[in-house]
């Protein structure tokens, strides 16, 4: 037990609110890492991919998306008929209790708004026909169609809208690949979608962005150069875009575990008295779009990875009765810890509970890797949340807390079906936060343990995994 745990004084940091956003970008799926490589090898795939993209209305009516933005609970998702993509929800709304769905035209406008380097430009005629509340074109961003087409011939990325060339995205440097159009589009999409989530969160909480004094970004994009290709601090760019004029910022990254790690860092800044209001944000991952599109095409499904997911959460000193993060429960996966599923569960589920004197069976809900199984099962990647819940249930059996034949009941009672898009850092525990806050406020749950994992080994610098976790509950005396 560390020194914090040894004090036995609860350390609670308030969670004021959270906002989750899904930006539906069918015409950007081709720029995802996997589709871009496969289409380069087989150009005919582009047409097949385009033929299986969803309309915005279908993305809105998709049951897992409605859970993600708070219009449907994870429990209600169990009752929704599958396959969910063939059973759209009647009357589904793009605005949710703690999130929203944004269409592609609005994202294009957000990109234009967030661009300070004349990277993105649009066909003036298309833009005038598609005006929306976000459009605030800057000088030079609207061009004749012929000029847009010429820029694309010179290497700019074409930005399409329903088959029509609507605009283009240029490189930030002629020779430096790290400032290429593809990289900068990923980075600007992360900035724009995270800023949208942060602005929306402030509006929903009636908090002025100027009240926030620190922003931590857990977006996974490498923002940098010359010549620091991952130099970072996308957080400050997001803070600026969201109008947080009094905020500083920094990035906290740990692959998929980044958002949870950033929340622990933010909570620690508040506990130390360094900051009063800390926003933790993450933008959408463009590189992850269409990651499993080939499996979806083979199964005759729509290409379901067509959304950028972003979120923002606001932390501040805890007030009586509000949902809070138990900072004294925070646990990290250490270098010497085992990387097997059991080892990860011991380090990330048992360890935080031990600090609070709790058992696995005293947690009402576990927020784990919440990937939507409808996306992952067709490619043979399995039902990730279920695998994680069964590991926790098996650990409870090993500890003598439940019998083996109670494992399914444990999974059903304390777990949920996955509903998060496969956007890397977004599904990993943090996507449950909105429902956790609602459950804590209503009293439906007493607590929830959020457990995230990160695949450090993907960067080829270590064989290690990573992860962190903490308990959320209501701040009581």
């Amino acid at each position: 037990m560390n020194e914090i745990g040894a004090t036995r004084q609860p350390i609670r940091i308030g969670i004021d609110g959270v906002f989750f956003s899904l930006t539906h970008v069918p015409d950007l799926v081709r720029f995802g890492s996997k589709p871009a490589r496969e289409i380069a090898a087989d150009p005919g795939l582009a047409e097949k991919l385009a033929s299986r993209l969803r309309a915005f209305a279908a993305a809105v009516a998709y049951a897992p998306h409605q859970v993600f933005i708070g219009n449907l609970t994870p429990e209600e998702l169990r009752e929704c008929r599958q396959p969910w993509y063939e059973n759209p929800l009647d009357g589904a709304a793009a605005k949710g209790r703690f999130g929203d769905l944004v269409d592609q035209e609005s994202l294009y406008a957000l990109l234009a708004q967030a661009d300070q380097f004349k990277l993105v430009s649009f066909d003036a005629a298309w833009a005038s026909a598609h005006s929306n509340p976000f459009v605030k074109a800057k000088p030079g961003q609207l061009k004749p169609a012929g000029e847009i087409a010429a820029l694309c011939r010179k290497g700019a990325l074409p930005l399409r809208s329903g088959g029509q060339l609507a605009g283009c995205f240029e490189a930030g440097h002629e020779e430096d690949v790290n400032l290429g159009a593809d990289i900068l589009l990923e980075n600007l999409a992360a900035k724009a979608t995270a800023a949208h989530a942060l602005k929306s969160l402030c509006a929903s909480l009636n908090v002025a962005p100027s009240e926030i004094d620190h922003v931590l970004s857990s977006s996974e994009e490498a923002v940098g150069d010359r010549y620091n290709r991952g130099g970072g601090n996308l957080a400050k760019a997001i803070a600026e875009e969201a109008g947080c004029v009094n905020a500083a910022g920094a990035d906290v990254k740990s692959f998929c575990a980044g958002p949870m790690a950033a929340m622990i860092h933010g909570a620690s800044l508040i506990q130390a008295g360094v900051c009063r209001k800390v926003a933790v944000v993450a933008g959408g991952s463009l590189a992850k779009l269409g990651m499993k599109f080939q499996s979806h095409l083979e199964k005759g499904m729509p290409v379901l990875e067509d959304v950028l997911a972003s979120f923002a959460v606001l932390l501040s000193p805890a007030r009586q009765g509000q949902p809070c993060l138990r900072l004294d429960s925070a646990a990290f996966h250490r270098v010497g810890a085992a990387a097997s599923p059991q080892g990860m569960a011991e380090a990330l589920a048992e360890e935080p509970l031990k600090k609070l004197g709790l058992k696995l069976t005293e947690v009402d809900r576990f927020g784990v890797e919440l990937h939507n199984p409808e996306i992952t099962l067709p490619s043979g990647s399995g039902d990730v949340p279920r695998a994680n819940y069964r590991t926790l249930a098996a650990l409870a059996v090993m500890r003598g807390l439940i019998d083996k034949d109670q494992m399914e009941a444990f999974v059903r009672q304390r777990g949920m079906i996955g509903y998060a898009p496969t956007q890397g850092h977004i599904p990993s525990a943090v996507s449950y936060l909105g429902h956790a806050l609602e459950g804590l406020r209503s009293g439906a749950i007493r607590n929830a343990l959020l457990v995230s994992k990160g695949s450090l080994f993907l960067g080829r610098m270590t064989q290690l995994s990573d992860g962190c976790s903490f308990l959320v509950e209501r701040a009581e005396s």
Binding site: C256, A339, S340, P341, E369, H371, T376, S379, G380, S381, G382, V384, A387, N388, T422, P427, K453, S455, F457, L458, Q463, S465
Partner: protein, 41 residues
């Protein structure tokens, strides 16, 4: 039966890590020519 065979071991983030598979295989007399852990989500 598999002793002396060359193998590639691919582990999975939410399953068994690559190094663990490799260690088991090497213990059985196989030659692991490549091992990695991947994340398929």
């Amino acid at each position: 039966m598999l002793k002396g065979k060359k193998v590639i071991a691919i582990g999975e983030r939410d399953g068994v890590p690559g190094p663990v598979i490799a260690e088991c295989l090497e213990g059985g007399g196989l030659e692991v020519v490549f091992q990695a852990t991947e994340c398929f989500v």
